[in-house]
Symmetry: C2
Subunit: 401 residues, 2 copies
């Protein structure tokens, strides 16, 4: 607990902050007038006018059409110029790399996917990541601001390293971001996949406070509090894969018992299914291929498959009850490739268990909803990390932290 | 998840914020020069000079002595005027009311305590609270800014109501803050006791990010993230009394099983002790009296008492591992009357279980330490709520939220 002082703030910082506030408000609303912007942001008409002028001069914003008349002079509408800049997002899930090219308005312009061979070395993965970057950058209609990289946690954000993620066998302290940056010649920002997906959800329009549970190979949570992404002291907030989930102590790969990922990771779910129905899946297939088959079976109404998935969802709901009680939020978003074909089945079970176990559910409803961004959430979130880094209002900037 | 806009900020707000930043920095450091203040806060010498002048004119700050010479001109030191204002803090624990009078520098000037009869009605408790306020106000050397009231959660801060706290039988939706305000004619601010205690800890010098586990009749956590108290969307962040704590499903008074308070509340600990050692305590005594006896026995080395307390501490450590993983903080503070006589015994057990169960402990040390403010933490925190409300830098002010 190092003693830290509050930093005062000053005019240049306030100016940069206000500029970011305005750009973010325009992007979030699609089309909006200066008057509405001033109302929404609390800035004076004069300040707003100056900021908008600068954004137009820089080619980030353009006047486009007029609002319907409300009696007086019709208001000119502003929108972000999508092709002013673009950003590349990559999501490294143990078995595949998903890449997207995002425009400045948050639209997905290009998408690519590459498989990662089981047991691939860091060098091989860095090669595959940089090929994905080059493929997307070549076809980008605008200058690429940078690359966002979403990786399974835990990670060391300051050292820009991946720290022995339980789902990437043999990886330990790999300086992934720097290695990729060197290979592709673009700035690379890195975050854990759940946080990246939560940022993508915020870019897609989610506001206020929510937790985003990302179901990939593992399970993690991204935390957004009062419109701000909360990262924790080491960028590992929401690393809930190894918290306890009630009675029963199934062994986890981390060496402890009863962890969430011992029940709800793709690997754990597949193992449970194969134990319940020997021969149901081909053990030579990859974990994600077997998991997808299970989800298809569940979607078709197979009783065992449904039961196995509900059991995993129940553990997740139990863990999320603790997260929701700790953070005092009332919205949970579910996203990631683990939901494909079974979104409603998982959502309903998570919600019912969460409501039964969070005391706050007695006082107010707790909502669990599917993500606005689909299974590319990690990659879209990673790309929006770059845009977020460049433009969105961050308290850190204002407060000089 | 209501859509909420970022608010821009403007000069008057920045001015008020900077003034609060400076006052807080002076208070936290005891004595400090303008030059050091400017360095610490990042404000210019001119801005600092203006702010300090205004604080001196208002009688909140005074020049007092000089720093040791470092070669050049000796620097004049500033300090807060303790008797410029005072604030009253009350902590309502089910069996007693603790009251303190805090001066502007954060010093405890007066203290009082009143027992609450078992089964007391809200009206009787409000009477006892207002008598405590009058007793302290009468003897205050300075104008009283207001009353802070710390109560067991959960609560409805907007309605200023206590919401059926599990440890206050027969209480439900009691509008405590308004009723007290009407009786005493001073503004009353209310918060849950764990959050109040965390604020008191921040006032006493704790900085950065930490969770404060408050052991009173129940168990709750106050959350401080990056020097800011985090309250959640309904002021109930850190309500962890009813989160699950691993295998075993002891019945809880809330109707569920395995809750933290089913193991770690004073009542649960006392019941466990009486079950293990029939006749160890007089069941006609109050729960807190029996608990205190247990703690004395444990401090004297009684094996059963030690075992019972360690078991409760282990459940708390398990719950805190989840909290720490979710929030990604590495400091835990333990405070409250439940630690009397047994602080180190409980701390050591909580720390060892926490380290065994939080993944982050593999990456960096997690520290568990006793609170800077002793068992009056709730009342001191409640009083500092008033001062915090009046003076400390709050982002909400700056951002117009």
């Amino acid at each position: 607990m190092a003693a830290r002082s509050w930093q005062g703030t000053n005019l240049p910082r306030v100016g940069g902050f206000n500029r970011a506030v305005v750009l973010d408000a325009i992007r979030a609303r699609g089309q909006v007038s200066r008057v509405e912007l001033a109302e929404r942001t609390g800035l004076t008409a004069q300040t707003m006018s100056n900021i908008v002028r600068a954004l137009i001069d820089d080619g980030l914003v353009v006047e486009d059409g007029q609002a319907p008349s409300t009696g007086g002079k019709r208001r000119v509408l502003l929108r972000v110029v999508p092709d002013a800049y673009s950003a590349i997002g990559l999501h490294l899930d143990p078995e595949r790399i998903t890449g997207v090219l995002l425009d400045l308005a948050g639209g997905v312009r290009l998408r690519c996917q590459r498989r990662v061979p089981a047991g691939a070395s860091p060098t091989a993965v860095i090669g595959a990541l940089s090929r994905a970057v080059r493929q997307l950058a070549r076809r980008s209609p605008a200058a690429v601001l940078g690359v966002g990289l979403a990786v399974p946690g835990p990670l060391d954000a300051q050292q820009r390293q991946v720290l022995a993620p339980p789902n990437l066998d043999g990886w330990s302290d790999v300086a992934l971001a720097d290695a990729l940056q060197e290979r592709v010649g673009l700035p690379v920002v890195m975050d854990n996949d759940a946080t990246a997906a939560a940022i993508g959800e915020r870019w897609a329009g989610a506001a206020g406070s929510f937790v985003y549970a990302h179901l990939g190979s593992g399970v993690g949570v991204g935390v957004v509090l009062g419109d701000q992404v909360y990262r924790g002291i080491s960028n590992n907030a929401g690393e809930i894969g190894h918290i306890g989930t009630g009675s029963g102590g199934r062994s986890c790969r981390c060496g402890r018992r009863g962890c969430l990922e011992a029940y709800s990771s793709m690997r754990a779910v597949v193992e449970e299914w194969r134990a319940a129905r020997p021969g149901a899946a081909d053990a030579c297939e990859s974990v994600s291929a077997q998991y997808e088959l299970l989800c298809r079976r569940a979607a078709d109404g197979d009783g065992t498959a449904v039961r196995v998935l509900r059991q995993a969802a129940a553990r997740l709901g139990y863990a999320l009850a603790t997260v929701v009680s700790t953070l005092d939020v009332d919205h949970v978003v579910l996203g990631g490739p683990g939901l494909r074909h079974v979104e409603e089945l998982v959502r309903a079970k998570v919600e019912s268990v969460l409501r039964a176990n969070a005391w706050a559910a007695h006082v107010r409803p707790i909502h669990v909803r599917p993500a606005l961004v689909g299974e590319d959430a990690g990659a879209v979130g990673a790309a929006s990390l770059v845009l977020d880094h460049a433009y969105s209002p961050r308290l850190a900037t204002l407060l000089g932290g």
